[in-house]
Symmetry: D2
Subunit: 386 residues, 4 copies
């Protein structure tokens, strides 16, 4: 069952690492480290095989995938031998990457995107396509009355306004083309009432927001630890130092704010109170594709005794995100195939700022993920639309 994976931001680090990795897995040149869908508790017949994934996408930059892959190899993110060995396969994917149209009103541009998606699906005879947003984080979205309702939205897009931010225009196009949608970034994407209604109308599932790859991943196990032990977290402060493209974007305070908000949500909702302290994001070019996060947690134990935990996480965002992008493409495609529509709240395991009201505890999200995939693999006794 051939499945399309259409990456918005197809020439970025995360997309390139996802593509190289999937090609390497298909060729038997690499193992599935980091791929949650290859764990015994999750894998199964409902998921499309790596060999069944066909990649395409949009980007605004023109650097070819192969060049990007070489740069990532030099930076220690990708093994140089993989990049060299997969040059032909990368060239084939390159032919499926389109530069996003920039002229006309938003309705015209959306129509062009829909055309790209349907042609991609037809050309490769794909059972379905999952659109995954891995483009740079946008500033917070400016409200517009047309966000409230699909009809108003249709009308407004035909006008001169920039009604939707780019991530939401992609979401609009994806849904209209009958494609499932995954938002791996904190950008607005499908988080507008008009778009959610449209997704329901087109009976497509969607997942998001903001892949959980570093500091928040740790928060989602450490905050429950403090809660389960009835320890009182007094302050939780952190700083994220990042190089790479995302670093520059997030140095912009507007984008930064969105990211920081989604990072603190896990604390409030897990602990039941918000401790003192902030999370900072700073750009340090020298760190390249790596990210260093330092957090200080002060907490009180029995009779108020003060204690502290510090951690430093030195991770490579692309290497952490890419296998999750593949996981989400496979899971969302399988959910689509099984008839799921609307928000896939059972995929909260993957996200900093998950859809729905569920828990932020990684362990409880894991339990939900396993139950969800078990139902997918067995055909599920419960209503798959539930």
């Amino acid at each position: 069952m051939r499945t399309g994976v259409w990456l918005v931001g197809a020439r970025g680090s995360v997309a390139t690492t996802s593509i190289v990795g999937a090609l390497a897995l298909r060729a038997g040149m690499a193992g599935p480290t980091g791929c949650v869908t290859e764990l015994p508790e999750v894998r199964g017949p409902a998921l499309p095989a790596f060999a069944d994934l066909v990649f395409g996408g949009h980007d605004v930059v023109a650097t070819p995938l192969a060049k990007r892959a070489e740069a990532l190899a030099e930076a220690g993110v990708l093994p140089a031998r993989l990049v060299a060995a997969l040059s032909e396969e990368l060239a084939a994917v390159e032919r499926e990457v389109r530069t996003a149209a920039s002229g006309g009103n938003q309705a015209d541009r959306a129509a062009a995107l829909v055309r790209d998606l349907t042609e991609f699906r037809d050309r490769h005879r794909l059972a379905r396509v999952v659109v995954v947003n891995v483009a740079a984080t946008e500033p917070a979205c400016r409200p517009h009355p047309a966000h409230a309702d699909p009809d108003a939205l249709h009308a407004a897009l035909a006008g001169p306004d920039e009604v939707l931010p780019p991530s939401s225009l992609y979401a609009y196009a994806a849904v209209t083309a009958g494609c499932a949608y995954v938002d791996f970034t904190p950008s607005t994407g499908l988080r507008l009432p008009a778009l959610a209604a449209l997704a329901d109308a087109h009976r497509v599932p969607y997942a998001g927001h903001d892949g959980k790859t570093g500091e928040t991943l740790l928060k989602s196990v450490l905050a429950p630890m403090f809660a389960m032990r009835h320890l009182a977290v007094r302050s939780w402060s952190g700083i994220n130092l990042l190089g790479g493209g995302d670093g520059v974007t997030l140095a912009d305070p507007a984008a930064n704010a969105a990211k920081v908000r989604s990072k603190q949500r896990v604390l409030d909702e897990t602990l039941g109170y918000l401790p003192q302290g902030d999370t900072r994001i700073d750009y340090v070019e020298d760190l390249g594709d790596f990210k260093t996060a330092w957090d200080l947690i002060t907490f009180a134990g029995f009779l108020g005794t003060g204690m502290r935990l510090e951690f430093t996480w030195h991770g490579c965002d692309s290497a952490l995100a890419a296998p999750l992008v593949l996981d989400l493409a496979r899971l969302t495609a399988a959910a689509h195939a099984a008839g799921h529509t609307g928000p896939l709240t059972d995929l909260a395991f993957f996200f900093k700022d998950p859809l729905g009201d569920g828990t932020h505890s990684l362990a409880e999200q894991w339990t939900r993920l396993r139950a969800f995939t078990r139902r997918l693999h067995t055909g599920g006794a419960d209503d798959p639309r539930g």
Copy 2:
């Protein structure tokens, strides 16, 4: 339902903190921070109230509880105002602390311990007594043929040999006196076939081993995180710097070895493989009742990219352990009252080296603990002996 808590090592830091804390809670002078049994998910009618706990115990040192409490206040472990306000109550507990007999053979000494326990139970008209070992860690136990079987053990104790290490002699006395037993240390305690058989024969429950208060607590949430994300942990190295009495004991390589072994078990059993690296324990007197642990974890993500996590935990062992001692006393007493006998494997949440074959994941241990306490509170549909 008045319940006795008999502490082996009653004048140590952990015991003193437990006693002061319970008295403060009873007097409404402190909140239950750190007490798992006061979380909404765990608390309920089956547990004896703090006001129902009556303390006693043995120790080999003679420093009065009040003196010890003052020293702990000076070291920042206990609030000075609590210690001052509770001096009368502490004096009352002091009268229930016995110095362990040292003459005669082990049978004689065990008989003296049994007498102390039964007199304590009778004097205070207690429904039952839980014996909790919080004494300093012993060196690894020397094997003896009489460890295999209760009859051989009875016979050997009457002879001249030191058949049982002190922790096991207490366990023997506790079980013989019909008391439940909790081993909060890595010492041998009830972990001998003869004693397990004896516990079954006397129909008492027991729990252990080695309270999970610091580095291992973190391991029990971080190792599952790596496993759930299919990340390959390549090395996990750590050093524990501790002052206080336990520090001196553990500087002894023999005791150290037992502790280190129980600390690494969680990794092997959670990850399914043992990463490179060791855990060290060093004594640094200046740290007093606090402990600093530093761990470095190196791991590989997608396509082998190397990453790292470091943490520093600066905790106060007494403040972390004491509320768990109270939790375990309450839970074990409730289990005893409900007819449970043998190893309480559902209490694995509290231990570094838990009884039974269960998971080392804190989240899964938490699920088991909640199910267990729910059954205790509701009278339990399942066989409480199961």
Copy 3:
């Protein structure tokens, strides 16, 4: 030779700790840990003895010193027994603390301050008085034409404008009263051409700016280490988490900017280039009088190999600053006595943002300090005014 120490911000943590410490030293109840002027390389006959120091000061808050000292004892900054034992001596100092006048124009207020200083000097028959600013950090100073020249300044002060920020009004009063002045904070203080000219005219010495107590102290030994080893520092990022009064003040971005600027100067001037990265300051109330700074330094070695150093400094600002306040009072008084006037650039050892063009290397500053004090103690072959 009795010497006055007039503290601006006399009821703050730093001032209180300085006073309690000096009283304790005088009473033989504490040792001189942290006092540079008690090291064999620095001490000597030219310095006034601790017993010769007489304390007074101004503050805008009214909490008595004794109350503040008790709060510091509770927070673990001062030993409770010292505070209790010195209550009479503290009450005596309390009588020398004035609340700053707030009515009238700045000339009136300056005159009142001068009166307070001269009365203090006369009342206690002091050989001289050193005014030390340990008040909370001010926002950056707003330029005013009268800052350029003493005559313009005199004229402007008599008008309705707030011509000088508070720290500079104190500096103005100190100099006018013939007192030496030390700025222990990053506030403007004496750093205005009109005030420098005035200090020269009144032949008083002055020292500053901004006591070097934490992260910058480390920078002043680590940056030279990288330089001496010809290692290329690529980035130096840091975050300072502080509770206490100074934390609140510095959460104000305007004050923050001044502090951050003085913190980065050491890097640029020691390395000869400014690495990537910023220093952040955040307020975390729970840290109280303590401060946690975390720095990440990435650097390149031979052939460009990337490496890293991280440090966490957990210090108590008051305990670090107070002995330096005493050192500076003693050294500045001795310099005044020896006839020094103008900026005391040889005291750069103590400051984040030292007066003059000298080195930021702590070791070289130390060499200068030793030479300076040797000259003081021996009467100095070179011209003391040099």
Copy 4:
């Protein structure tokens, strides 16, 4: 003035990095980052140019330099493009590397070494040769009566005993051949009375011991910082995690002990007292050529307030050591040329465990180094033999 650099352990990581680096510098393909002798304060006409250095050496392993260099490139220690571009030059050096003879008694083997050295010097018409020991650390040396005196040593070497450890046999051969000797390791090398006497007799200079590249480098600036501020260091504990060849060697407790001892010396001699705490060395294969050191320092400030500093150093030993090897070869050759003989105590800047009684403060060692090189460059007013 062509100068030979004869490396004992010529195919190890440090030697290979030194050779590749020197070749790259000569070819203008790399800059001198990490080379102290290229700093303005140190460089000058007395030092042989990089282009004048001719490399040779001994090793017991047979892996060619080029292979080793490729492995180091894969591990991120050397840039792959340099290794590729310098293959011819590396092959030329390869021809100068000898496998150490293993038959015969120690006198025979020493004679073979002397022959190798003199032939190397003659073949390349070298003005002089510096022998640098960069071989793996040896266990502590077993005492032998012949260590006391040159005559006894000559006699004993002709016998059947292994009188000298390998590093000392090399030192013996170097001195006998009239070569200067540098010990970059903690092994015994020239530290035997008989060898020191022999070096004097042959009028050669020597330097050592144990290159200061990581944790001890930090200690040599941090310990003086605490001392200059009169802060009381209560404990200094550390752990060094190392992969690579040296890691395996040092996992051997005997070698470990020598290293640990030289690491603590700096504290005792700088502070004037030895704080609590130990330094541990552990082998973690996954770290490869990198080393992670973590240190915790607890210290007391004014009135005893407890504070702490933690640091993590993540360095590449080869990249840190190699430029110092070149520095030492240049400096020792220049000293030899200038007529210096005996221990070069002015080179303490480079060593963990320096010859002579001098300071361990990096800043003071730097002052001495600069004075020394200034004298070398100017022909020196003082007696160069002094």
